[in-house]
């Protein structure tokens, strides 16, 4: 798995990179996120240790951890995972990725992101036209926006 393309890595970026500080609120939000996406401790440890080595080491503190606000917004979007339609949405996103033209880089990014959310299999099935035909993607859930942006379905304008 490409750790830097996972939601938890993205959460760490939100938590740390706003002002170079991690608030206690952010720590709790990260714990909550870990539970919501069923991330095991060892995987989280591997991601966090690499993040600290590669990113945190170069940060300069400029505040008191203002990153908790965008992080809270991200964690809030994870409620989508409880939606019964999440699997179908993932399939539709996979098919949309294919129709948009899927490069290897986009594939790897998308899989890493969707895998950590537990939606990797339906997404891959959608891409590779496996099983039932995936439906159309009506709208992109917030937690999947990074994937939709990566595969070219949406851009900064929309």
């Amino acid at each position: 798995m490409m750790e830097e393309h996972t939601p938890f890595w993205h959460a760490l970026e939100l938590a740390w990179c706003g002002d170079g500080a991690l608030s206690l609120h952010s720590v709790r939000l990260l714990d909550a996120m870990q539970q919501m996406i069923s991330l095991d401790d060892s995987t989280r440890a591997a991601i966090e240790s690499r993040f600290e080595e590669e990113i945190v080491a170069d940060l300069t503190r400029a505040g008191f951890g203002c990153g908790d606000q965008p992080l809270a917004a991200l964690v809030g979007t994870l409620t989508f995972l409880d939606d019964p339609a999440a699997q179908e949405v993932a399939r539709a996103l996979g098919k949309s990725a294919l129709l948009a033209g899927l490069s290897k880089e986009r594939w790897l990014f998308s899989c890493a992101w969707m895998d950590q959310l537990g939606l990797g299999t339906p997404f891959m099935e959608g891409v590779w036209l496996e099983g039932d035909d995936a439906g159309e993607l009506a709208r992109v859930p917030a937690v999947l926006v990074p994937v939709a942006r990566q595969i070219g379905l949406i851009n900064d304008d929309n």
Binding site: L98, E125, L129, E130
Partner: protein
């Protein structure tokens, strides 16, 4: 031994395709030398008119000219046409023209005419040439025993079978009996080296992504192949992961 009308037909083709066009005097001499009558001449001329296609011969000009030159040379070599006198001189001129621009297969293959052999250089050259010419199955199919094209070209340029196809096929059936054993061996050899379904699928998958972008048609093709080859989606993902890891 070639039939006289075959030789006449070949000479007429060479003459028609020469820079000067059909040399009626030379053809008349050849016709007389071969003992052909006006009917043979007319039939050959009619066939040429029908198939010449403005000199393109249905896209097979080179093959037709080569076969005609071979027949003329054979007639000269076996004495059906005199190798001296006006007929020989005229034919030599036509054959020189037909040879213009041709690639020497021996030079291309790196075969030296003077190489030592049991039968001598000349024999070896002839044998090598014969072996080389034996590969011309395509030409065998396109020109029948009478030297006529076995296929006609329809208005769309697509070849259509002519009546002589059946005859040539019958002949080739007999000839093929000797080669059937070797063909079976080749098939066995091919089956021995058959690519496994997973390897074939992986090859197809890497080909589909060779331009760096997967499109719906490629995904459909791969999905269909998974079904045909009984490859599970899990196996597909494993192959894909391995392929991407190798490339990274």
């Amino acid at each position: 031994m070639l039939a006289p009308e075959q030789i006449l037909h070949a000479c007429m083709i060479l003459s028609v395709e020469s820079d000067e066009g059909l040399n009626a005097d030379l053809i008349s001499l050849i016709k007389d030398a071969l003992g052909c009558d006006d009917e043979d001449h007319a039939a050959a001329l009619e066939h040429i008119d029908e198939h010449r296609d403005g000199g393109k011969w249905g896209g097979r000009r080179d093959a037709v000219l080569k076969r005609s030159a071979d027949r003329a040379n054979e007639a000269l070599a076996n004495g059906q046409l005199s190798d001296s006198g006006p007929v020989a001189d005229g034919l030599a001129s036509l054959l020189d023209e037909a040879d213009d621009g041709e690639i020497d297969p021996f030079a291309e293959l790196g075969v030296q005419a003077g190489a030592a052999s049991v039968g001598g250089a000349a024999d070896q050259g002839a044998d090598l040439l014969a072996a080389f010419m034996d590969d011309d199955e395509e030409e065998e199919e396109m020109v029948d025993s009478a030297g006529f094209l076995t296929e006609t070209i329809d208005l769309d340029g697509a070849p259509t079978s002519s009546e002589s196809d059946d005859e040539s096929e019958d002949e080739s059936d007999d000839d093929d009996s000797d080669s059937s054993d070797s063909t079976e061996e080749e098939q066995e050899s091919e089956s021995t080296h058959a690519v496994s379904p997973l390897a074939a699928y992986e090859m197809l998958m890497s080909t589909c992504w060779v331009d760096g972008i997967l499109d719906p048609a490629e995904a459909k093709l791969l999905a269909r192949k998974r079904g045909e080859l009984s490859i599970s989606f899990e196996e597909h993902l494993t192959l894909l992961r391995e392929m991407l890891e190798r490339e990274s």
